[in-house]
Symmetry: C2
Subunit: 241 residues, 2 copies
């Protein structure tokens, strides 16, 4: 039984009808074929068929970002999800202009994008934290690529091959600043962290959401799961159980 | 003298006042320092100072894309501009769902993004064309990377180093399909073109705007102007003369 929202998505947005097929995932049990059996006002009933894909561990990069305005943040969440981000962390900084983070909204956007892009899991949306806490609690096994908007970092294609990425066992986190940039003392704290490598994303000034998607794409292409040949799936629906 | 729209942008959006500095560019004469002298209802007067940056030729990748819905297309134009695209070509395909292309709107978005990201030129927005014309008129000096959403292309990091890119003298064009993908016979026509290389952008299905920005970022990082170290400018305003 799917919820009202999921039913709306399948029957109104995707325009699927009774007897049409969908693919299900819940982030634990892989991907399953299913068929729409009945559609009612409060939901729809599916018949579950065979397993299509086993659930594989899909370690991906993390993304720390300063909260953005609504449209820019929707774009960021959607694109980061499509690019295989494993965890997204809203980070409050000195110049963050958006105060409140609507975490359920971010998660809903991440679920919708996961369904559309054929992921079998949904990225975690972490509770918002302050930059200082992000840095003090950052796991030593994971490098942190800091998108230095002053342009002082190493070109990302160069930084993606070498230290500290080679010394760490996990995919990196990416740290993208707010519209106003990081404050000077924040930059000093970031650069003093042992896991951090500053990277440069070219000679133009990128908005936060462009920097995030660009850096994620480069990392996936150079070190992540874009290096293997694989064929995308389609039209997955995430179920709760 | 700046236009009413430019004055609105400087004084309302950027909140600059008389005696504050801006940087000017027109795509031909480099970047110039200027100071706001007076602000009126119909425009504002600037005093031009010294030259800050010489105009350099900035050859960049081209982007062929199927017209998208308004918000997605705004995102695409803004992000492609920030990523240094030289020319954007709306391409009508069999499954293109958006009929009319508002070219002045695309150009306005490209100008605004050029100003914000510190470019000294504005990408060209070409007249919309049909896929068949794009292919028949494609210059032989420029490779065309086709983002094959079926996943049959070479991983982009691999394709960015090798043929046909190495044999061509110009940066590549990228060709991104519509939401519904290309029709089978369109794919055949694309792949039969001598300049074309099919590239894969990982195991997930990307929306058109994500595919475009991801592919542009990868190319800039691997073969384009992200490889040199440079420091971004800020707050440029494009002038007409």
């Amino acid at each position: 039984m799917l919820s009202r929202m999921q039913t709306h998505y399948l029957t109104r947005v995707m325009r699927l009808a009774v007897r049409e097929g969908v693919r299900l995932f819940n982030g634990r049990d892989g991907e399953w074929q299913a068929q729409i059996q009945a559609v009612g006002r409060g939901g729809c009933v599916l018949r579950i068929g065979g397993c299509l894909r086993a659930q594989l561990a899909e370690p991906g990069p993390w993304l720390g970002f300063a909260p953005l305005k609504k449209d820019a943040q929707d774009t960021l969440i959607a694109q980061a999800t499509e690019l295989g981000v494993e965890k997204m962390i809203p980070v409050h900084t000195r110049f963050t202009s958006v105060g409140r983070v609507n975490r359920p909204r971010l998660l809903a956007q991440a679920i919708e994008s996961s369904e559309q892009c054929g992921r079998l899991n949904v990225p975690e949306v972490a509770a918002p934290c302050f930059l200082q806490n992000l840095l003090s609690e950052w796991p030593a096994s994971r490098p942190l690529l800091f998108a230095d908007e002053r342009g002082f970092g190493r070109p990302i294609a160069e930084a993606a091959n070498g230290q500290p990425l080679d010394a760490c066992s996990e995919p990196p986190g990416l740290l993208i600043g707010p519209e106003g940039g990081f404050a000077d003392e924040e930059v000093r704290e970031i650069l003093a962290h042992p896991c951090v490598a500053a990277v440069a994303l070219g000679p133009r000034i990128l908005r936060a959401e462009t920097a995030a998607v660009a850096a994620l794409a480069c990392w996936q292409a150079l070190r992540g799961d874009w290096r293997r040949i694989d064929h995308p799936g389609s039209h997955d629906v995430r179920t709760e159980s």
